[in-house]
Amino acid sequence: MAQSTAALETPSAETAGGTTSTLARVTKYTLVRGVTLFITVMIGVYLTVLIANMGGYVDEIRRGEIRERVSIAVMNDPALRNLPGEEKRKLIEERIRLEEKRLGLDQPFLVRSFRFLRNAITLQLGRAQYMTSDSGSRQVRLIILERLPPTLLLFGTSNLLLFFISLAVALNLSRRYGSLLDRIFVALSPTSAAPGWFYGIFLILIFAALLRWLPFGGMVDAPPPEAPLDYGRSVLEHMVLPVFAILLSAIFVSVYSWRTFFLIYSSEDYVEMARAKGLPDRLIERRYILRPTLPTIITSFALTLITLWTGAPIFETVFNWPGLGRTLFQAIGLFDTAVIVGSTVIFAYLLAVTVFLLDIIYALVDPRVRIEGSGGGS
């Protein structure tokens, strides 16, 4: 974040042909970006599958488990007790073979990995080995869909708050450059070196353990309140600490870098010119500072979002937030390959969707895409 003041390279916009309509250009840009991102996600997901399966290492563990389970089942089956040892062993081998075939373990890893990739891309995420959704289903898709809304709620809220608050404060500070408040924000910006969960621990300590004002973690009271209004209030209450933790960890540095960024821009000649013309401050801010810097702001916002998304597993674990991140962490504890790959795929998708959405906004606000039709070039 500290370096966001340095030249933030804008995403490359592919050159559009001779079309002149803004809509067509934006659509084309969006499409090209969409396809590029999709290919990127494919490669990313395939890498994830490779890492998750460790070139078949996880399969070995699964094979071992199948062998043990089948052996125990056969040994404990009273109907088979009188079978001679040799036959029993044969039966066990046969059942293991069937079970491995059923789980698709008999195909070579390369084939399986591509099948896994196809399924992952189409969100057919398979069945979990151990985990179940709250409704009792083993479908990874259902498990993830169940956990996605809390994550979106938490990170969506805090990111939007972070974005708008820090923009507003940064603009304000750049106007009152050198004031006490400004100096306080500059002095506090190094505190953002610590991630959100770290502040989370402190906040839990103060507001949950010492003062007992707010809950330690979770998303709603247990048992969840019946009335929707009470339910909402409870969720809000549980959200205060995590949202505050994210804000605390990111706001100072983001205010600092944007304030610096605005200050650099407000010394541009055309801003001085506007000032000399006697335009009101608000107008100068809106039209001469905010407007030209908007593409950069959006790009840097995308980077912040990605960082925050990525931190979800630990953040949600600390706050016991029943979201995707904690699911991933739990799945890893249980060696549930399907869920691990599923959640990592969803994470990759979330990153891609974030980047894509911001790209569209970017295309809409960047005059180079909108008017000239030729991008910054790569």
Binding site: A2, Q3, Y57, A187, P195, W309, L328
Partner: protein, 452 residues
């Protein structure tokens, strides 16, 4: 280079926060060096992974002793008196019948306003066949004498005051129905019990029956506080983890930050210099890499492969090389490539590698240094994050692992705040130290920011 360094330092002096940060870093380095010398690697691991045989002397979950400074009611410290180490007065007297009388007298002052948690005696007798016989008495400051017990001690005998039925019965009769560590220290007739301050004496009178027999005993009064760092749920002294956390954090942070920035820089430089498909490839790889969620992948590697801190370090570097900063560097190299001095180098026949490494890369160092310093805390916290998720190095004690132990044992619910605050405070200090220096360096090396 020498002059630039001097200039930088002179510039840094203008920023008080940078000076504070520098002194924090310096202190951490000294602290790490001290740790490495006093507790060597192998010893730290043995201690931290050791069980009850190493840590039986310490109380469980005891806050550090210095919290007494902030309390009006002082909590009792842990008292360890070993007769073999001069903790007790030892009098040996041979008798005519071949028996030996050994008297061990433990004298200590008790000044706390609360009771200790438990009392125990660990005996280490020396004998051939017939175990020595001990009689233990307890003398309070007001002169009362209480009989603790009479029994034979074999090797490995441990006398736990609270768990001895006969002692409890006797104390119930004489003092009241309280556990031994309360009954022995309380003022008579006080209700609720108030500790009696003063000098206590514990006397062990031994009769040993064989020639050459001996007896030593260790008296431990498990207090409510211990040492400068306190202890955890396994009675381990947190001092070890807190001390060892410093070199580990510094090493991880520095290596990861250096590894990523230097590699990223060199790759970006080669990409720009060769341009064409090399550059395109680097750009595409970066885009894919940005799409890979770093923490989930690190978690996967930690669970499936190895939790060794060095493997994690390698994977972190590998995944961060093609990070967002490659684009920043690229933009700078693009400008530098057009400089006349590069053309001059080409004219005298410098090779590609030479131009990249000797002419392009050095140009970007001013931009790199602040970034490198600000990156260090990121990686320090990343290591802690992994540890908090239970994926810390399996053998090394680190700050993150202490936080994880505390979290998984519900330290915050139970009010054991020191357990979380100590490692968290050190992490924060480290993070702030590097971040403050990094921010100041950023302003010094980027003239556009100067004065802002």
């Amino acid at each position: 280079m020498g002059t630039t360094l001097k200039d930088t330092l002179r510039e840094l002096r203008k920023y008080p926060s940078a000076l504070a940060g520098l002194s924090v870093i310096l202190a951490l380095v000294v602290f790490s060096a001290y740790t490495l010398i006093t507790i060597p690697y192998q010893e730290a691991i043995t201690l931290w992974r050791g069980g009850a045989e190493i840590w039986y002397r310490l109380p469980r979950n005891a806050p550090p002793a210095w919290i007494n400074r902030f309390r009006s009611e002082k909590l009792p410290d842990t008292l360890i008196l070993h007769s073999a180490e001069g903790g007790a007065e030892k009098a040996t007297q041979p008798m005519s019948s071949g028996q030996i009388m050994i008297d061990l007298t433990y004298t200590f002052d008790f000044t706390a306003d609360d009771f200790p948690r438990a009392l125990a005696l660990y005996f280490s007798p020396v004998y051939q066949e017939k175990a020595p016989f001990v009689s233990i008495t307890w003398t309070t400051p007001d002169g009362r004498e209480l009989r603790i017990g009479d029994f034979a001690v074999t090797r490995g005998t441990v006398f736990r005051f609270e768990q001895d039925e006969r002692l409890q019965r006797r104390l119930r009769r004489q003092v009241g129905d309280y556990p031994a560590h309360v009954a022995l220290f309380m003022q008579p007739e006080s209700d609720p019990p108030v500790p009696l301050k003063g000098t206590y004496t514990l006397k062990i009178s031994t009769v040993a029956f064989e020639e050459g027999s001996d007896l030593d005993a260790e008296f431990i009064s498990y207090g409510q506080v211990y040492g400068i760092a306190g202890t955890d749920h396994l009675r381990r002294d947190l001092k070890i983890a807190l001390m060892w956390g410093a070199p580990v954090a510094l090493a991880f942070g520095l290596l990861a930050a250096l590894g990523t920035t230097v590699t990223t820089m060199v790759i970006a430089a080669f990409g720009v210099w060769y341009s064409g498909w090399v550059d395109d490839l680097i750009q595409r790889v970066t885009e894919v890499n940005l799409m890979l969620p770093l923490l989930p992948i690190l978690i996967m590697v930690g669970t499936f492969y190895s939790r060794s801190i060095w493997i994690m370090l390698g994977v972190t570097i590998l995944l961060s090389i093609f990070g967002g900063s490659i684009k920043t560097y690229r933009a700078i190299f693009m400008q530098t490539r057009e400089s006349p001095y590069i053309e001059a180098a080409q004219a005298y026949g410098a090779g590609d590698v030479r131009i990249v490494l000797r002419y392009l890369v050095p140009r970007i160092i001013p931009v790199i240094i602040p970034q490198l310093v600000t990156l260090i805390p990121t990686y320090v916290f990343l290591e802690a994050s992994l540890a908090v998720l239970g994926l810390g190095d399996p053998v090394l004690p680190t700050w993150g692992k202490v936080i994880q132990d505390a979290q998984s044992n519900g330290a915050l619910y139970k009010g054991l705040y020191y357990w979380v605050l100590e490692p968290a405070g050190l992490l924060m200090l480290t993070g702030l130290g590097f971040a403050m220096v990094g921010f100041a360096l950023d302003r010094i090396f980027n003239p556009r920011l100067r004065g802002l």
